[in-house]
Subunit: 348 residues, 2 copies
Amino acid sequence: MIKPVYLTEDDTIVMLDQRKLPLEEVWLKINTPEKVAEAIKTLTVRGAPAIGIAAAYGFYIGVKNLTDASRRKLEDRCRYLTNLLGSTRPTAVNLFWALKRMNRIVEEDTVSPVIKLIKKLRAEALRIHEEDIEACLSMASFGSRLIPKGVKILTHCNAGAIATGGYGTALGIVRKVHEEGKVEMVWVDETRPLLQGARLTAWELEKEGIPYKVICDNMAGYLMAKGMVDVVVVGADRITSRGDVANKIGTYTLAVLAKHHNIPLIVAAPTSTFDLSLESGDSIPIEERKEEEVLNFAGMRTTPPKAHAFNPAFDVTPAELIDYIVTEKGVIERPLCQNINKLLKDAD
Amino acid sequence: MIKPVYLTEDDTIVMLDQRKLPLEEVWLKINTPEKVAEAIKTLTVRGAPAIGIAAAYGFYIGVKNLTDASRRKLEDRCRYLTNLLGSTRPTAVNLFWALKRMNRIVEEDTVSPVIKLIKKLRAEALRIHEEDIEACLSMASFGSRLIPKGVKILTHCNAGAIATGGYGTALGIVRKVHEEGKVEMVWVDETRPLLQGARLTAWELEKEGIPYKVICDNMAGYLMAKGMVDVVVVGADRITSRGDVANKIGTYTLAVLAKHHNIPLIVAAPTSTFDLSLESGDSIPIEERKEEEVLNFAGMRTTPPKAHAFNPAFDVTPAELIDYIVTEKGVIERPLCQNINKLLKDAD
């Protein structure tokens, strides 16, 4: 299983440089939380669950040398790290969720010595990672039951192994459906501006021998009109209590198209992606990235010298356009709002 | 006024190499019909009306040396040229329309000597070009009346001066609306895979000082949901008798989005774009171009070595999703089918 980030026995973070794929497979060794923050900002590691895991590891390596420090010093350091890692990217909630889990270890144990807390933080980061992989496998299992034999799936961006702890959310379902011999074709939206579909999803599907073709984002409607898409499966960066979903820019367009063509839209995300503090998707902060990502391509200018661009990295799909949210705890069907509360609150 | 192709006094075709824009402005001199055919195929010249004009000029320079030939030889040559130029690109009907007009000159005059017919063919090619510019100005005038002050327009691909004889269809309307001081923002879909929006539309708008920003194609839905788009204006490559419109891939997706958001969709096209021999858009041949256009970017591979792609160059928007078709003869409102017949047949 490809894991885009992991912690070695001797506490080094190893990370796949996703900016270099598919042309080069470069693994980086990272030893400071500042470099982890930088890696998240620059999309060296990306994908909501993978960001959460990277942040947890970054948090741990940020405290691991405090074995002789006071509890107060550890708490100060936790605040610093939460701020450092939490200010990298605003939209995916898994990042904040992971940081909260790490902080809770210290907050809830006022008895243990610092050296013990550090050990517990290491274990928590590893647990966050393991749980995410288990969640992916569970989602794949639940999700594949929704999908018939001979299916033509459209996916957007990369919600694969390298966007998670391993295996993937949306692509985890695709993997499982392929293992069951049910995939006829995976249409891979290239996903401008950074081409996570063309570069990363294609790379994962190629490795696994799953049949796929890359399309430009603007071709999805044509394929749907021609009956070439049976189901749309995507990941998520944040899901509100009513079921509004923030995900990679372009997801909303696909959702409108899917609804128009009566094609089911499946969102796959672990429960760590839910932000029950928000009801409406309008409240989700949408990251705007540099204009240059749109104006240039691989360092080459493609637009006039003075051109400007608008570059929102995510959009919000309202619950009304979503048919299923697949989580590790089960499938949430419509009405999403009601069933989200049932599944998540009952499980708590 | 920028004309992307024109005929000099001494019968050379001068053509803007649109593949090199916006980084370089290269003007080519072309002296054979074979090179015109090649230029159309390679998108050196593109845009439905501009292709028609280029083909007419190509036709003329293909016959101009036959001054001493027999009528039979001229007719043979006309068949050769019709086949040569007509087999370049299948979707835009203006190409076939222009070739038909050229052929008709010979067919309808069985009296004049060949040398006179050649002169008439030269005049016809120039007339096709002049009429197209007049049509653009007329469309701009009709179209601008549909558009209110402070408007935020979304456009796709390039339906500008360089896609026509000059001035443009969809961008002709934008130009006029800008002259009237009514444009707040033009959102330019970059239009993958060949980036006609980012490269060509941005280049035209930059030259004219019209406010614009480039977006990735998958961002259009987000902008509409945020109330940042008041109207969508696009060109067309072929329009059927019921009002189905073939245009650059991605137009259909925009049309579905516009309908979902209750935003009017305006198609601007001269009557030469209508193909009344077809009723349904399903009958329009859709050009599929090389996979490499999707898999590579500016000669750089962006996908895994063995990746495949699907690359339809156009899609069809059914009449039901279109609010207005602006022609040089007036605005066609809904129901399009009925009003197309009225406008085109009455005018004939």
